[in-house]
């Protein structure tokens, strides 16, 4: 073997090596781990909503605000907590609001971290549409191994993201009809809403994210950009 070919070979080797180690392979865990955690998360936060709503009198600032649009919900829920265990449906709603706030916050923080982790090595995202596309393509592929199925926008700050087979809903079902099932599924969807909002917030876009409709296992998210006060 001539020296030049040896050098070439060597060069190829090192190139290959650098390609395979960078981007470094993502660490993996069993998919079931996340599924279990995802299910328990809502249950645990519901328990903690119950707990915090009973001690809210002493500490109304508990639901410290990281969000603009939900801080009102949160603090209202925490200041009107019941002290007895048999609570009327009105306080149930409050608990639900507190739960919403918490699940959404947990997702929000996850979203922020995901954005930091995955946006650092890519070119700058020029505008909001680019950022939403980043969510639909990059993030969705990282999390679900697929892209969002459909993205629509009115070019005035509203984006509709539709996933026809949302992975976290695939194994959910109910025997008492679609309406009930949809209602029970809602708390689980506040989590991805929070994730999306967290990602966009981290990229500099203030927005609200809501579920537009669900038809298990299809799911549609609506992003509304909050216009900064002029």
């Amino acid at each position: 073997m001539s020296i030049t070919s040896a050098i070439n070979l060597f060069r190829q080797l090192t190139l290959d090596e650098s390609q395979s180690s960078n981007p470094s392979p993502l660490p993996l865990v069993n998919e079931a781990c996340f599924d279990y955690l995802f299910i328990e998360m809502v249950a645990a936060l519901r328990a903690s909503s119950d707990a915090t709503s009973t001690k809210s009198d002493q500490d109304p600032s508990l639901q410290e605000s990281g969000t603009h649009q939900h801080s009102e919900l949160g603090s209202r829920a925490s200041t009107t907590g019941p002290t007895d265990t048999t609570r009327p449906s009105e306080t149930d709603d409050n608990i639900n609001e507190a739960l919403y706030y918490k699940v959404e916050q947990v997702g929000y923080r996850v979203g922020q971290r995901l954005a930091e982790r995955y946006s650092k090595d890519r070119p700058r995202l020029a505008d909001t549409l680019d950022m939403v596309k980043f969510v639909c393509k990059d993030i969705w592929t990282k999390l679900f191994r697929k892209q969002i199925d459909n993205l629509k926008t009115n070019h005035r700050g509203v984006y509709i993201l539709q996933d026809n087979k949302f992975k976290w809903l695939l194994r959910m079902s109910g025997d008492d009809g679609v309406v009930h099932a949809t209602k029970r599924v809602a708390p689980y969807l506040w989590f991805p809403c929070g994730i999306i909002r967290g990602i966009l917030a981290n990229l500099g876009v203030d927005c609200t994210v809501t579920i537009k409709d669900t038809n298990l296992p299809q799911c549609t998210f609506q992003i509304k950009v909050v216009k900064p006060p002029v």
């Binding site: 993502l26 079931a32 996340f34 955690l37 909503s49 918490k102």
Partner: protein, 187 residues
């Protein structure tokens, strides 16, 4: 014998489970812990909640474990712990903690977590020193899963690298075999 567990564990990890990006799992867990700390403002309570979450997970996860591994009855607690480490932990978190520090009556031992994906990216505030056991969910998982196979145990963290300790160590104590309760007859 020990090698057999290891081979089976690796085989299951490679061929019989779906894997996902660990970061989502890690971030989500971290975010949940942060939320619980905020809600309860008491590390004792947070530990308890995490353990409870783990317990609920454990009682479900054991089915998954048994069906995927096809593992039968273990002869003694020592074997159980080896199986948990080499097959159980391997299959779910892709780690295999070291089982060591057995008591003379073989009822208490330690799981040393040389690596722990939950700890990735995590730094705890100083005031949590030996009060918040960040990965306490694992203790609950052990308790829940073993209870489903009629073993009552107690598991506790006694040291954790996040607290500045050299190693992360879960102390596991075997308490007793639970009596198998026959379900009520249908007729």
């Amino acid at each position: 014998m020990a090698k057999q567990y290891k081979t089976l564990g690796e085989d299951i990890w490679k061929n019989r489970v779906e894997t996902i990006n660990a970061e989502l799992f890690i971030f989500t867990y971290g975010s949940i812990v942060a939320q619980l700390v905020k809600d309860f403002e008491d590390y004792e309570q947070v530990n308890k909640q995490l353990e409870k979450m783990g317990y609920n997970i454990g009682v479900r996860l054991i089915e998954d474990f048994l069906s995927r591994s096809g593992w039968g009855r273990c002869t003694d607690f020592k074997e159980t712990m080896e199986v948990i480490s080499k097959i159980g932990f391997k299959m779910f978190l892709n780690i295999a903690p070291t089982v060591t520090n057995w008591s003379t009556d073989s009822k208490v031992c330690s799981l040393i977590l040389d690596e722990n994906p939950l700890n990735d990216f995590v730094e705890l505030p100083l005031d949590t020193q030996h009060k918040l056991w960040y990965s306490n969910i694992l203790c609950g998982v052990l308790r829940g899963a073993l209870e489903m196979v009629q073993m009552q145990i107690e598991a506790n963290f006694i040291s954790c690298v996040l607290q500045g300790d050299d190693i992360s160590e879960i102390r596991v104590q075997f308490i007793r075999h639970l009596q198998e309760e026959l379900p009520n007859a249908d007729d």
